[in-house]
């Protein structure tokens, strides 16, 4: 401790810089992305694969046939929907990692009607399922928001716990009350009647249409409504929001309910569109990947549309390289991880810069 005063100045020190323009920031992101692809390429080369061939196969694999394109879109639906959902929470600096649980609860609530009211007319049933999913996901978001407001309970850790509680609610339902009696050997929940499944449009269940509608709605909500504005003010500073006379707690509750409700829709779409039943894998990590997607897109809906598409291509393409080159599908997770590491590290250069030791500081360059 006493040697503090005798410290040499470090070789590089960090200093704040003037905010880059949007275009410069975008440039930084593209450079980060490029570096990430190079790093990923080195990784592939170390494993003994030609990175150009693998990258090429991933892209062509995601688009090689009509079926492949449909598969890619199908992977994109839950990612896009839940990334839009978590964005609302993150814009408010509410560190919610509970999308996984909210997706699950949305699916659970929707499945109740699918399993026990399958005699209802299809449009009615599907709309009720959609609303039920929103309520289910919303409630799962409200719980941590309530405790956050009331006692400042840590929302990150709380939502993490709720993910697993939700997961085991499914296994409880599967093993007990909702177990399919037609399947005595192995516990599963019955496949939905056709009435309770999402119809197809252009070969993919209409979850994609729901996702696109949600995209437009969230875009408008965040950009052009008073409530969207309130969210970004609270995200900037709760004190400012309070000072401006906003009911911060009320807004948090409302926003987190919406955020959870949107994630719940992803659960509904997965259960009624892809799985056609309620399975423990209904969320399957999408809730976590969605956070990465939202973050890569700087919490901008337009960016989320692009990034969730890219991730879907990566996921779909990786399943092709598994069959073609014997490289595990988990390759997409590795590449996604590398990309995010580079991009969030690159985000640093948008806000800060390194100042070398020798140069005398000039006043003009400083902004801190």
């Amino acid at each position: 401790m006493s040697d503090h005063t005798t410290h040499k100045e470090p070789l590089l020190r960090v200093s704040k810089r003037r905010e880059l323009t949007k275009r410069q920031a975008f440039g930084v992101k593209m450079i980060s992305l490029l570096l990430a692809l190079i790093a990923g390429g080195i990784f592939l080369a170390v494993l003994g694969f030609n990175p150009f061939v693998i990258y090429g196969t991933i892209v062509s694999g995601a688009f090689r046939s009509k079926l492949a394109v449909q598969g890619t879109v199908k992977l994109m639906i839950p990612l896009l929907i839940s990334a839009l959902g978590v964005t609302l929470a993150y814009k408010m600096q509410f560190w919610n990692i509970g999308a996984e649980g909210q997706i699950i609860m949305g699916a659970v609530f929707a499945s109740y009607f699918a399993l026990f009211h399958s005699n209802w007319p299809r449009p009615v049933l599907l709309i009720v399922m959609l609303l039920a999913a929103m309520i289910g996901g919303g409630i799962w978001g409200l719980i941590p928001a309530f405790f956050k407001n009331k006692w400042n309970t840590n929302e990150t850790l709380f939502t993490l716990m709720l993910n697993y509680i939700a997961l085991h609610i499914i296994s409880f339902l599967r093993d007990g009350p909702w177990r399919d009696p037609a399947n005595p050997g192995f516990a599963k929940i019955a496949t939905f009647e056709e009435n309770a499944t999402l119809p197809k449009l252009f070969g993919v269940h209409i979850g994609w249409l729901i996702a696109l509608i949600l995209f437009v709605l969230v875009y408008i909500y965040l950009k052009y409504t008073k409530q969207g504005y309130e969210i970004s003010v609270i995200g900037g500073s709760k004190a400012t929001a309070n000072y401006a006379g906003m009911h911060v707690k009320k807004i948090i509750i409302r926003t987190i309910f919406l955020s959870g409700a949107i994630c719940g829709i992803a659960g509904f779409s997965n259960a009624a569109g892809s799985d056609l039943t309620l399975a423990t894998g209904v969320a399957g990590g999408v809730g976590f990947t969605a956070i990465i997607v939202a973050w890569l897109a700087d919490l901008e809906p337009l960016g989320i549309l692009v990034v969730s598409f890219l991730f879907a291509v990566l996921d779909k393409g990786s399943s092709v390289i598994q069959s073609a080159y014997g490289l595990s599908t988990d390759c997409s997770d590795v590449l996604e991880g590398i990309i995010l590491f580079f991009v969030i590290a690159g985000g640093f250069f948008v806000r800060y810069r390194f100042v070398p030791r020798k140069r005398k500081e000039e006043k003009g360059g400083e902004n801190a």
Binding site: M1, S2, D3, H4, V14, S15, K16, L47, W95, I97, F147, W151, N152, T153, N154, T156, L157, F158, L160, M161, L162, Y164, I165, H168, I169, S171, F172, D175, G176, G285, F288, T289, I291, I292, W295, G326, L327, S328, D330, C331, S332, D333, V334, E336, G337, I338, L340, F341, I344, A345, G347, F348, R351, Y352, A368
Partner: protein
């Protein structure tokens, strides 16, 4: 009596990987970094420990590899969050997704190259990681079973916990580290090397997580490679840190309590108590959620998360 001895022994073994993960995460959170990458770092430790054990047939080398590989994962996290000041939540999640993905890719790669289509640790290392037997001590009834016949990981974990507790409670450096987690600006002003200590703690914490990951494949899974071998234990470890109120000594019994919860369903007489299995699986998370709420309601300062946890420290913002 025999039933209880068996139950406790099983709980200790089931809790040991959690103990490593929890200690690693405590080291991270104590310097203010909520690292959600435990699951990823444990996975990295599992694949490195397994592969080095598989190739060299040497337990010590496997342990070192597991430690280094968990530490390498943590180093990436540290560079991104400490130096580049990225968001902790997102960086941690990325580390988890990346770590599990990389582990599965490598495992799949070697599985594809093996002739039998399976990977199993060779004979010698399997012997080395088997439960110890100390002549005389291990043979004492009950006490010998309860204390002197575990696999080496169990003792290693307890030693780590004690060392870490001594570090925090008995050394000046440990006190400085705690200060970093509570208020890095104050620690910096007092002359503590905030950045250096953050790196040291995060990286060593990651290494300890890595050893816990090696446990899951070497002991729990009997030395046969499977994908996703950590299977969510890393997340339970994050929960356990709350349960242990960020104290290494609490982590020991906390890990064994959580271990007991993990195996409870196999030991309850199902004829008498009718509770669905899912409830037992849910228990650790339910208990942690309740503790989280209770701690925040009562606002017990020394049982709460380090105050600066999850925030980045930028010197010029002081």
């Amino acid at each position: 009596m025999n039933f209880w001895v068996n139950f406790i022994v099983a709980a200790v073994v089931a809790g040991t990987p959690l103990l490593f993960g929890t200690l690693g995460e405590i080291m991270n959170e104590r310097v203010g970094h909520l690292n959600l990458g435990v699951e990823g770092m444990m996975s990295l430790g599992a694949i490195a420990g397994f592969m080095v054990g598989y190739k060299t047939d040497n337990f010590a080398l496997a342990m070192i590899a597991a430690f280094l590989s968990g530490a390498a994962g943590a180093l990436v996290y540290a560079v991104v969050t400490v130096t580049f000041m990225a968001n902790h939540t997102v960086a941690g999640l990325t580390l988890t997704i990346f770590g599990i993905g990389l582990t599965n890719v490598i495992g799949f790669h070697y599985l594809g190259m093996s002739e039998s289509g399976t990977l199993k640790l060779p004979e010698q290392i399997t012997q080395q990681m088997r439960s110890i037997h100390i002549e005389g001590l291990s043979d004492i009834p009950v006490i010998g079973d309860l204390l002197f016949q575990y696999n080496p990981f169990v003792y290693l974990g307890i030693v780590f916990a004690i060392l870490l507790a001594l570090f925090y409670n008995r050394t000046k450096a440990g006190l400085n580290v705690i200060a970093i987690g509570e208020n890095p600006a104050a620690a910096d002003a007092a002359g503590v090397h905030v950045t250096a200590w953050k790196y040291v703690n995060i990286v060593i914490g990651g290494g300890i997580c890595g050893i816990g990951g090696a446990f899951t494949i070497m002991i729990t899974n009997g030395g046969v490679w499977i994908s996703d071998c950590v299977g969510g234990l890393g997340w339970i470890a994050v929960a356990l840190v709350i349960f242990a109120t960020w104290k290494p000594m609490n982590a020991i019994w906390g890990a064994f309590v959580f271990g007991a919860m993990r195996i409870l369903k196999y030991y309850v007489n199902k004829e008498i108590i009718h509770i669905p299995d899912a409830f037992y699986d849910m228990l650790p998370f339910l208990v942690t959620a309740i503790i989280l709420v209770v701690v925040s309601v009562r606002q017990v300062k020394d049982k709460a998360q380090p105050a600066a946890c999850g925030t980045n420290y930028f010197r010029e913002d002081r």
